[in-house]
Symmetry: none
């Protein structure tokens, strides 16, 4: 991981507006990487968005790749961490798919660009960059897998379908955020608006309810 001197404290070290430069670079980069992906994003774009000259980026990050890694880490890290925590610490509801879904929606709603970053990453293939993702994804998927196995309606699923089911849930969630910009361009509706997010959360709850609940009972 790069030099990312994130979390400096100096409150705007003179002349600098708002956050420390490194942070502002991360913000700009996050936006651009999320919009266009890694290779379609140029450092000049990033610098321009920050309002600095592009060589200045190198005072904060060793390379484009390092910057990208820093963005991923900053963004994905906390979310996956929070999720892991919730899931693995056995917090209340951590075993209930519905509550997990809700929690994930909550987390992502606050970082709506993250899913696009992840999507770009997973699309662009399994290079080294994904290492981080892998490290976090694998255990989370494993946990989700177990969660499904022990959920009420588990008997409904063939064991070898469970990974597919987990993937399906994953795609519903990630895809929703990912497609938001295009959806807005097409329909004019903002999927990231609070109301829409609530609708989606409710939908998710219902889907989970329909899938992970003992059919007979839940119906009875």
């Amino acid at each position: 991981m790069p030099a990312a001197p994130a979390r400096t404290f100096k409150p705007t070290p003179a002349g600098r507006r708002g956050a420390a430069t490194a942070e502002r670079i991360l913000d700009a980069a996050e936006g651009l990487f999320a919009e266009r992906g890694y290779s379609a994003t140029t450092l000049r774009d990033v610098a321009t968005r920050v309002g600095i000259q592009n060589p200045s980026l190198y005072n904060h990050f060793e390379s484009k790749e390092a910057l990208y890694a820093a963005v991923l880490e900053r963004d994905i890290g906390p979310v996956l961490e929070a999720l892991s925590e919730f899931l693995l610490d056995g917090s209340e509801g951590s075993g209930d798919p519905a509550q997990v879904a809700e929690r994930v929606m909550e987390l992502l709603a606050r970082r709506p660009r993250l899913p696009r970053l992840v999507a770009h990453e997973t699309l662009s293939g399994g290079d080294q960059l994904t290492r981080m993702l892998r490290e976090w994804m694998v255990p989370v998927f494993a946990r989700a897998h177990r969660m499904v196995e022990i959920s009420p309606g588990a008997e409904r699923w063939n064991p070898d379908q469970i990974p597919h089911l987990v993937l399906a849930m994953y795609h519903i969630v990630i895809g929703y955020f990912t497609i938001a910009p295009l959806y807005e361009a097409l329909t004019g509706d903002d999927l990231l608006a609070e109301q829409a997010l609530e609708r989606q959360t409710r939908l998710l709850r219902e889907i989970v309810g329909a899938l992970f609940t003992s059919t007979e009972k839940s119906a009875g």
Copy 2:
């Protein structure tokens, strides 16, 4: 390397070389664009994969963008067309979500790189290139929307949830194919293997069944 129908019988009979060059270029480009997306794909890569020199591409396509458009058209066109046909002709089962899902899986299974192309496209934003996608997506989504509205169990959903529901189904399907390479890299399992595809189809059917079926009755 994909199914690229390269290696025609005659091992390039020295001279008739360019027989179906355009087609071979499209194949190569399809693969690369699907793997890496537009901007991460260089024309040199394409040319190399075809086994020609990169300026030769210009004998067949006017520009990188034109090549990309041609790939999209060749790939997406027929599938969406087939789908539209199926959906709009009122063919048998065209109103049944389960059968539609099945049909879509069938179509995509034969062109597994297509979903990645679409994913790259929808991710990279609403440029002009997506026009084609839009033109096809919008009516298909509209149709899906209507289909849900009249499906049994429709009363379970809030009207404004239906678009979300359609998106969810869309993402389950597209996401599955999209993540296949990464999934294989992570777990060793090939989601595009016949068995896996069958599992996914069955899963889809069950999900659809669970979601688009009158609850009371199915319960009763």
Copy 3:
């Protein structure tokens, strides 16, 4: 000089409109070279203007340079030849600057693109291509030089001014045709229209009259 099989006789060897292809190529090339000069003219432009495919040019001319040379030869050749003839054969009036000027105007008026070709050539420097020009220019200039020397009023000029004087006349004539397109773009007036050409001829005659006439009076 190239293979330029100019002057074929076959009257349109089947399917071909109008002149033989080689001639049509020369026409197109003449126009483009005159407009844009050698390096700004592409063979594709030429071919397009002829209505053929650019490799076909090579059936008629060995190379771009050969084509250029052929154009120059076809265009400049006859004019300079006619001029030389007129000048050197001692035709009537061949020693009278006014009549020479008139004759030159006459010749150029019929080939108004020629001066631009010459201008491009003389501008683009003394490469090999100019050889032909040199071969023709030098004797003509020499002749003009002598003509001035023996003209009435010659005593008005310093001997070492005579080359300058010849150049001046040359530039008045060549420049007039050369600037025609720009002039038209700027003012809307077509310098190549018959009336304008007449005006210019008259002007030339008067200038020559004023410069190459015994100055006894003006001196007296």
Copy 4:
């Protein structure tokens, strides 16, 4: 190699290298554009002549066209400005064709590459680039036009010949400088040598004298 003020005292003190790089680029470009015209000049040639790597040009000019425009502006601007000033301020002699001619010769003698630039421009047609030229040319020509009208001897010319007359003078002047390199290649004489320039100035004065002087006698 031209007057390029390269080789500043400090032999490029390693680091401050780029001192007046932009200026040196303009010098090099001026030379090449004047020699060969726009499209025959490659940026690599320019860079090589400057002694830098060709992408470095882009640190100083946005594109080849921008560089070209900058050259034109730097070169043509001041001269036309000086000329305009002289002509329009009613400076002493600004109404006297002979003195104007002299002044122009003076100005051009100091920037002998300028006429070639102008010639290339006027030859290569009326693209946008010529805008600057047009803007300057039109009023200057208009002024010259008026000047001729009120000069003694004006009654000798038909009103509609006056533009032709102005053009003729223009071509004598511009053509002289333009043909210098070729002339030297052909004859060995350098038209830009001081002596030659004086001869040409004198010639010009005499021509103007002969043309713009009350001709009562010659007419009578």
